[in-house]
């Protein structure tokens, strides 16, 4: 349909979508970078929060985590950080695990791990925020 003389086997639709053979285009890369960007201020907040809380007792830590602003930023930190690390671990697995089945299994396991850590952490934060 075009004057393109190369042996391009892609359909016109595939060219328009631009997703390539992975069917997801640059989505992985883009989300990796977006979460990386978000992680910078969120990590700095988390570290600063821990510095301020160093040596604090049970009641003080609970009160600090129950603060709405702290809880909100902590939840954002967890979501962005966990999403970012799941993407990163996927790349590590894809690089080193050769067997296709084992690759899929470990990536699935990594996703479960990520979600388990996230749900446990966020549930703890919500429990503290909504009255211990």
């Amino acid at each position: 349909m075009s004057g393109n003389k190369s042996n391009d086997m892609r359909t016109p639709m595939a060219k328009v979508r631009g997703l390539g053979s992975s069917h997801e285009g640059t989505q992985h890369f883009w989300r990796q970078r977006l979460t990386a960007l978000a992680n910078i201020p969120l990590t700095l907040f988390f570290v600063g929060f821990l510095i301020a809380l160093n040596g604090a007792g049970y009641a003080e830590v609970r009160a600090a985590l129950a603060n709405p602003f702290v809880a909100l930023v902590m939840i954002l930190f967890l979501i962005s950080g966990l999403y970012h690390m799941r993407l990163g671990m996927q790349v590590i697995i894809e690089d080193y695990v050769i067997s296709e089945g084992l690759k899929l299994a470990t990536i699935a396991l990594s996703t479960f791990f990520t979600i388990a850590v996230g749900v446990a952490s966020i549930f703890a934060l919500l429990k503290l925020a909504f009255g211990g």
Binding site: T43, V47, L50, V61, L65, M89, I92, F123
Partner: protein, 139 residues
């Protein structure tokens, strides 16, 4: 398919090899790239420490005291110190990638300088964080 005698002779003959890992002095950019991946992997499992700490705080005084005690032992502190460094190094390594994303800093010597800077910066930031932490505690 069996190889012809000529092919076998070629395979047997000693041929020059390109420099390999054993005699290769890794450039700093390569080392920092490897460390970036290792710190990323460490931070992946390090999130368990965050989760355990949050869950303990939401559970009971006893659970919290236990986690606090574990984090406060010399081994706990060593792990948390390593965690801090991994976090700072991975963060600065990420900033390095953002600089490269713009097309800047890719020249060989510039890239090496930035790589050294991420290493130095991560050590300095880690020390600053721990000094600040101990000062906040007043101990």
């Amino acid at each position: 398919m069996s190889k012809s005698p000529a092919t076998r002779e070629l395979a047997r003959r000693e041929r020059p090899l390109s420099p390999h890992l054993t005699i290769y002095r890794p450039p700093i950019t390569m080392t920092m790239s490897i460390i970036h991946r290792i710190t990323g992997g460490a931070l992946y499992f390090g999130t368990l420490l965050v989760a355990v700490w949050l869950m303990a705080a939401a559970t009971s005084q006893g659970a919290f005291d236990w986690v606090n005690w574990a984090f406060g032992t010399w081994l706990g502190r060593l792990i948390l110190f390593g965690y801090t460094w991994a976090l700072m190094h991975h963060m600065l390594g990420g900033v390095r990638h953002f600089i490269w994303d713009t097309g800047a800093g890719l020249e060989k010597h510039t890239a090496s300088k930035i790589a050294w800077a991420t290493l130095a910066g991560s050590v300095v930031l880690t020390l600053v964080i721990w000094v600040a932490g101990y000062m906040a505690r007043g101990a």
